[in-house]
């Protein structure tokens, strides 16, 4: 099986006041060709930083270590110039905030065509034709007029469509969507997810969907990884994870999703909040909020190990069954 993306031991460290904080800690993952991987977690769990690390868009403050292989190419040893040829061409990103992610003083056409001009060597006239074609593909009517418009004339949903069109312009092998629907109205959310799905199936693009919403994952992804406090705590295919979650955090996450048919009176919630990197506990990072915590949980952080054929889990509850079986990738 060919992997479009293979990440192992990805660790991103931020330095604040001369103290180093691992915001992403030893993240390993792979994405097959045409596959959709979901990364789920609460705000502050490191999922956005992880995605920016993949694109090497963190700037000077974040330091990324480990290995990222995109089609066999070592991303972390690329020069900045090589990265510029990879970004937008080999992998592209859709961001959370469509309202602020487009430049207010440049027309939609200008912002969309510059990638085509850089990566495909198109001239203005060619790229214009292509941009209008792309805009039409992502469901924007009057693409001819929108080409000349400025972002402030477009609604949030339209702008996110433009962002998607922009991301797929050069046919990237990997698309990273960082909470692409969070800032949108519910009705628009479904449309945008559907659009991402269509793009994926039409073009065979691999997708990493970063979200806090298990519903989005259920809708769009093949496999899913749950992140907590900078680490992956559970990884499985979507069906398994939703039907048979292993980690107490995942179980809590699923229980805290509103469900129409269950008729529950009060929505379950996990007490407390994600610790910041400054305050990660010594043992399991979820232990302070976990209702199944045992003495060992507070002392030592468990490994991410295969629980069975379908799931990997980082929890002491399952470690005895799997003693010594280290998980690769």
């Amino acid at each position: 099986m060919t992997h479009v993306l293979e990440v192992s031991g990805l660790t991103t460290t931020f330095t604040k006041n001369e103290k180093a904080f691992k915001v992403v800690d030893d993240l390993s993952l792979y994405v097959r060709k045409g596959e959709a991987l979901g990364i789920v977690g609460e705000s502050g769990c490191g999922k956005s930083v992880a995605s920016l690390s993949l694109m090497r868009l963190l700037g000077k403050n974040g330091k990324t270590e480990g290995s990222i292989l995109l089609n066999g190419q070592k991303i972390l040893s690329c020069s900045e110039h090589e990265m510029q040829n990879i970004r937008g061409k080999e992998m592209a990103m859709i961001f959370q905030e469509p309202m602020t992610s487009l430049n207010p003083v440049l027309t939609i056409g200008r912002q969309m065509s510059e990638g085509l001009e850089k990566h495909e060597g198109m001239k203005r006239a060619q790229s214009k034709e292509k941009v209008i074609e792309l805009l039409t593909q992502v469901g924007i009517a009057r693409a001819n007029e929108i080409y000349h418009e400025y972002p402030h004339r477009l609604s949030g949903g339209m702008r996110q469509r433009v962002m998607i069109a922009m991301a797929i312009a050069c046919n990237p092998k990997l698309l990273i969507a960082d909470e692409p629907t969070t800032a949108l109205d519910v009705t628009i959310q479904a449309q945008i997810l559907q659009l991402i799905q269509n793009v994926r199936t039409e073009r065979g693009t691999s997708l990493i969907m970063i979200t806090h919403d298990l519903g989005v994952v259920a809708e769009t992804c093949d496999r899913v990884m749950v992140m907590y406090a900078g680490q992956v705590i559970e990884s499985a295919d979507v069906r398994t994870l939703l039907r048979n979650p292993k980690h107490p955090y995942t179980i809590g996450l699923i229980q805290s999703t509103p469900h129409r048919s269950k008729g529950q009176k009060r929505l379950y919630s996990i007490a407390g909040s994600v610790p910041t990197p400054e305050e990660y506990p010594q043992g399991c990072r979820f232990a302070p909020r976990c209702d199944k915590a045992m003495p060992v949980c507070l002392e030592q952080n468990p490994q991410l190990l295969a629980v069975d054929q379908a799931s990997d889990c980082r929890c002491w509850l399952y470690q005895e069954h799997t003693k010594g079986t280290a998980v690769n990738a």
């Binding site: 868009l57 510029q84 970004r87 440049l106 510059e114 850089k118 990566h119 418009e149 400025y150």
Partner: protein, 312 residues
């Protein structure tokens, strides 16, 4: 857009009317009598009274203002008490020199100031940034007349590269323009750097990076225009100030501009000339502020004067 400009011009007229009343009052409150200055120490009381009568300076202030204002409405700025020539002619003669220097200084200021600001932001927190910011602090601390005298001393007296002072030719303009331009550039570079640093942290800059855009395109295409929006206002007001005459630097370089004219008018209590230059400078500000607003709309597509938008 036209409607907007017309509206602003109308309010500009009101501003200028207020300005004329205010300067008129102020001039007559300051001590010193133009007639005595014109006639000198040994003039007799009869001579003084006669000249006062002739110039209309013995009438009550209100009627003096009314006759001045009625002339103003017809475009007549009055006659200089000192030279006996129309004020408008005097200003028109001086303005080209001032305008030349204003344009040259502004050119230097924008190229040096904005350029250094962009470079400092690009190399934020590095040695280059530190040097540029040091230069800018130094420049802000230097008084204009001191820098002017220094460059005259170095480049004209010692090196002999440029004429010392007096002319208004191309070579004559270099030193005053460099002096004024550099001083203006210092503040501008700080402003540009701060604006650039802020703009570069925006989401849309990250989007541009995610598209694979290089640093040069990000700075020049994506960030620069956004930075220019706040900076244009400052540049415009500085330019208006320059067009109104850079009094001190004009004095140092003996530049025959509006600034020198205004200073001379005040020291000889040349009432119509003081009025005229003040109103002229006021009018420049009114026009420049309107131009700034129009430039805003050109730079920032979100600003719209009318319901109908122009095409991109």
């Amino acid at each position: 857009m036209t409607q907007f400009i017309l509206k602003r011009l109308m309010s500009g007229v009101v501003v200028l009317f207020g300005l004329s009343v205010f300067t008129f009052m102020l001039i007559h409150f300051i001590p010193g009598d133009p007639v005595r200055i014109m006639l000198g120490q040994r003039a007799t009381v009869e001579q003084i009274e006669a000249l006062r009568e002739e110039l209309g300076l013995n009438k009550p202030l209100v009627s003096q203002y009314v006759s001045y204002a009625s002339g103003l409405i017809q475009g007549d700025l009055g006659t200089s008490l000192k030279t006996g020539r129309p004020v408008s002619t005097e200003i028109a003669e001086r303005f080209p020199a001032t305008a030349k220097m204003a344009v040259a200084s502004l050119g230097v200021a924008v190229i040096v100031g904005v350029g250094l600001g962009v470079i400092a932001a690009r190399f934020k927190d590095t040695f280059i940034d530190g040097m540029i910011m040091m230069f800018s602090t130094l420049g802000m601390a230097l008084p204009g007349f001191w820098l002017g005298l220094l460059v005259i001393l170095v480049f004209s007296v010692h090196l002999g590269w440029f004429p010392i002072a007096g002319g208004t030719g191309l070579l004559d303009i270099v030193l005053p323009a460099l002096t004024l331009g550099t001083l203006m550039a210092t503040a501008l570079s700080r402003l540009t750097r701060a604006g650039m640093v802020e703009i570069l942290s925006n989401d849309y800059i990250r989007t541009a990076r995610a598209k694979g855009m290089g640093e040069r395109i990000i700075l020049l295409r994506h960030a620069f225009r956004n930075v220019m929006i706040p900076i244009v206002a400052v540049i415009g007001l500085e330019f208006a100030g320059l067009l109104g005459g850079a009094v001190i630097v004009e004095q140092v370089f003996n530049w025959p501009g509006i600034g020198t004219l205004a200073i001379q008018a005040i020291s000889s209590r040349d009432f119509p000339m003081i009025q005229g230059t003040t109103l002229f400078i006021g009018a420049i500000y009114v026009v420049v502020v309107i131009v700034i607003d129009v430039l805003y709309a050109l730079l920032d597509p979100r600003i719209n004067f009318s319901a109908k938008r122009e095409g991109a």
